[in-house]
């Protein structure tokens, strides 16, 4: 696994952000996190060239102001940002949503799990960690 990973979490739900970070820290406590509580803030932070680019972006869909979908569009339009893998991380289980967003450039569509343990497994796959290790 890569050293000094930074994950950018865009989610208006604070609980979800905390749960996600807690689980991620279990996978690797050295992971750094940047958070934004809506799409507008996310776009602003990402476009600021002073902030170092994250390695992964986890993007919620339903957020006030700029939605995850619009945010994804902005990221894909930006030459500097478009190579960063974007994971849609949402409550939605809608298959058509999933297909559309992948077309728009998202690398994966993840439904938020009910069991917090599942976040750990998902992340370990995402971060190229082998299943059952650790």
């Amino acid at each position: 696994m890569k050293e000094n990973i930074t994950i950018f979490i865009v989610d208006d739900d604070e609980d979800d952000r905390i749960l996600f970070i807690e689980s991620a820290k279990e996978v690797d406590e050295k992971i750094k996190f940047v958070t934004a509580s809506d799409g507008q803030e996310a776009v602003r932070i990402l476009k600021d060239e002073r902030t170092p680019l994250p390695d992964y972006i986890f993007l919620d869909l339903r957020m006030p102001r700029i939605s995850g979908r619009q945010c994804l569009e902005e990221i894909m339009k930006d030459e500097r940002l478009r190579h960063i893998p974007v994971f849609i991380y949402t409550t939605s289980r809608d298959v058509t949503d999933s297909i559309e967003l992948k077309k728009q450039g998202a690398v994966h569509f993840i439904s938020k799990p009910e069991n917090p343990n599942d976040i750990y497994y998902i992340l370990s796959i995402v971060l190229d960690e082998k299943w059952g290790q650790n």
Binding site: D15, L19, T91, E114, P116
Partner: protein, 556 residues
Amino acid sequence: MATATSEDMLSEVEDLKFHLSEALEAIDAIKTGSVDAFAIRKDGKPEVFTLQSLDYSYRVLIERFGEGALNVTQEGLIIYCNSYFSTLIDTPNEKVIGSYIFDLISSETREKFNEHFMLAIQGGSKTEITLSVNNKIIPVYISLCSLQPQLPTVGMIVTDLSEKKNNERRIIDYQHRLQVHNKIFNLAEEIAGIGSYQWNLQTGELIYSDNLFRMLGYLPQEFVPSIGKHLSFIHPKDKEQLNQTIVEAFENKSPLQLTYRIVSKDREVKYFRITEKIIDEPGQKMIIGTTQDVTSDIIHMEALKKKNSELEYLNKSLDQFASIASHDLQEPLRKIRTFTMLLKQRFDGALNVDASGLIDKIKGSSERMSLLIHDVLNFSRIVHTESGFMKTDLNQILDNTLADFDLLILEKGASIRKGNLPAIESIPLQINQLFHNLVGNALKFSKNGIPPALTISSRILPPEEIGNTSNLNRQLLYSEIAFEDNGIGFEQQFAEQIFSIFERLNCQQQYSGTGMGLALCRKIVLQHQGGIRAEAKENGGATFYVLLPLTQSADI
């Protein structure tokens, strides 16, 4: 030059006298008819003049021309009749001659004939009478003239009017029929609530039917229609549109159909739908049109439109609700489950048994709530599926469904018997859901300790049974698929209730589920123009009858 002697002159006088007396004699003879021919010497040769040759052509003319000709004495005795006349009255010539003219005249016109005959003796007369011969009435026109002083008789020319009279009668007959047709037409227009008009483009004359007057609030033929008057009925806001449409139709020579508003005599606004046709034939150039009062149709249509948009709004609200339900309601629910799980994981050792049990109850309830929301969503989505009908082999769908339950069937030791099912036009996914729910119920609601037995069979529904079930489309063929189980059954009084949303007859502890399965089943069959009903059996067990049409429309 020789000088004539007195004897010579005397002898010439004698000679001339003789010639004169001869000539006078000849004239007398001709007058009295006692001479048929005479000879005149010319250049020493005699030349014969036959009187017949002068008169013959007239006789032939009279004999052959296409009118009857008679010569009648002043007493009415027929002394000559031509062949035309004898043919006309269908009596041989020799029988006509010698009979009295009065006997040939019909009693109705005899007096009239007598008057004209008297006039004719003094000069001439013409009139129309009818002949009556051998019970046959022949209308004729007669022309009479006295042949005096040469002959003491009356000449009579008879023109057959039968054909003319027949034509006249036919015309009257036609007119009569036309009047009847007009009456029927007027009545029909009144009953059907339509009016009609004809506009003669050559004369400019405009004719309204009686009912058109009524539709405009007038009495039949109360005024003389004109184009100006006609246009004055049209609602001011519709005039321009109407003009444009008429011009287009005129240019394209196409039949015109349009709806516009008129303002009647009582200032009432009505919707008229007119259909116009231009007749452009030699000698006839006109526009004919019918007018239908469609005011109530339009009012209904607008009400329907309003209802439709209301419905659309409601559907949108439902969509919104569905979206809220799927995300916003699921969101906190997911959190409850997540945090109870965390609570249990992190404080497992620190909690006593009671607390642990309570946490389990929170977990169970929130899981159930999640399931409910999921099912409600499913239920509302069924309504929105409009298309997707395709030929579906129900056997295959049933096999797939049974495969889904493989484990449960094995676990419960269930026996399944299935008959042959038809192929129907359906939305396969929905039928899959339907079968899934019915088979699932049969397995779920089994009696304790008795392995479930499910029999699935089908038959084509006889037409008389289609009539017995409401909501079915009588133009379609239906298949009835029966799911018969040996489970706990239900009380027959609840047979209808079980299909209502959230209706459960059994306690949740024993039989899990949201109580939406059968409601969903009913929704699916309704979507397919079908029906579903349940029958409880005496010794427990239930049979669910699903009625599905083989095709969705009759013309396939």
